[in-house]
Amino acid sequence: VNRPILLASDGSPSCAAATDEALRIASLVQAPLVVLTVGRANGGWRAVEQRAAAAAVACSTVVADGDPADQICHRAGDARLVVLGTHGRGPLGRLVYGSVSERVLRRCDRPVLVVQEG
């Protein structure tokens, strides 16, 4: 059984590039896609599910609460690849807001694909 591709996304436009890449890879390797949304659940993942269906990619969604980096690392499980977007904040922005992607990269035990958004 193909291990899943885990996409950390809320389905919003700010995750568009990561979503595109996760769907492309899942389709190519015929792996199921798991969409992980942490925090504000705005239903944006449904658009990802629709695109997955159109691409004949099996897709499921996990909506979780808590710290995004913790949740992504916890849910990575045996994923073939974890895909997430990063927004390219400068050093000051990272200092103030922290960087989910950096914390995931330090702690996740699965390969992580980081896609620059916009």
């Binding site: 890449e21 890879i25 990272r94 620059q116």
Partner: protein, 134 residues
């Protein structure tokens, strides 16, 4: 999945960390560029000297790995870039120069800065990643 991959490695004892993932991600017939950012000092009496005392061994190790890849039928080459400042910036520049679709590196490397230096997707592979089953 990707036709041109830049695999970044410091050439240290764990030089092949992330290599398996890079090969897995490579399209059949794709091109894998092994990139090593050779850090050198700048200064009056140490200028040009490599930061790593074992730099020649590191380069030899990477050359051997690339040779093995070629023996396996993979279109691979070694690219060594000299840098006096940021290896991450050097990796990002090399990725653009070779037309890489993605950069693959180990979590032990310069990924933290790299993801902010490049618009190209970056795959970071933990040293203790699970063995692939598919």
């Amino acid at each position: 999945m990707y036709s041109t991959i830049l695999w970044a490695s410091d050439g240290g004892p764990g030089a092949s960390d992330a290599l398996d993932e890079a090969v897995r991600l490579l399209d059949p017939g794709g091109r894998l560029v092994a990139f090593h950012a050779k850090q050198v000092f700048v200064g009056s009496h140490v200028s040009g000297m490599p930061v790593y005392p074992d730099e020649p061994e590191r380069e030899d190790r990477l050359a051997g790995i690339v040779e093995d890849l070629c023996d396996r039928g993979i279109d691979a080459e070694l690219l060594i870039g000299l840098t006096v400042h940021s290896p991450a910036r050097s990796i990002a520049a090399a990725a653009v120069a070779v037309g890489a679709d993605v950069v693959v590196c180990s979590a032990a490397g310069h990924h933290s800065r790299l993801i902010h230096e490049t618009a190209i997707p970056v795959v970071v592979v933990p040293q203790h990643a699970l063995a692939p089953s598919s």
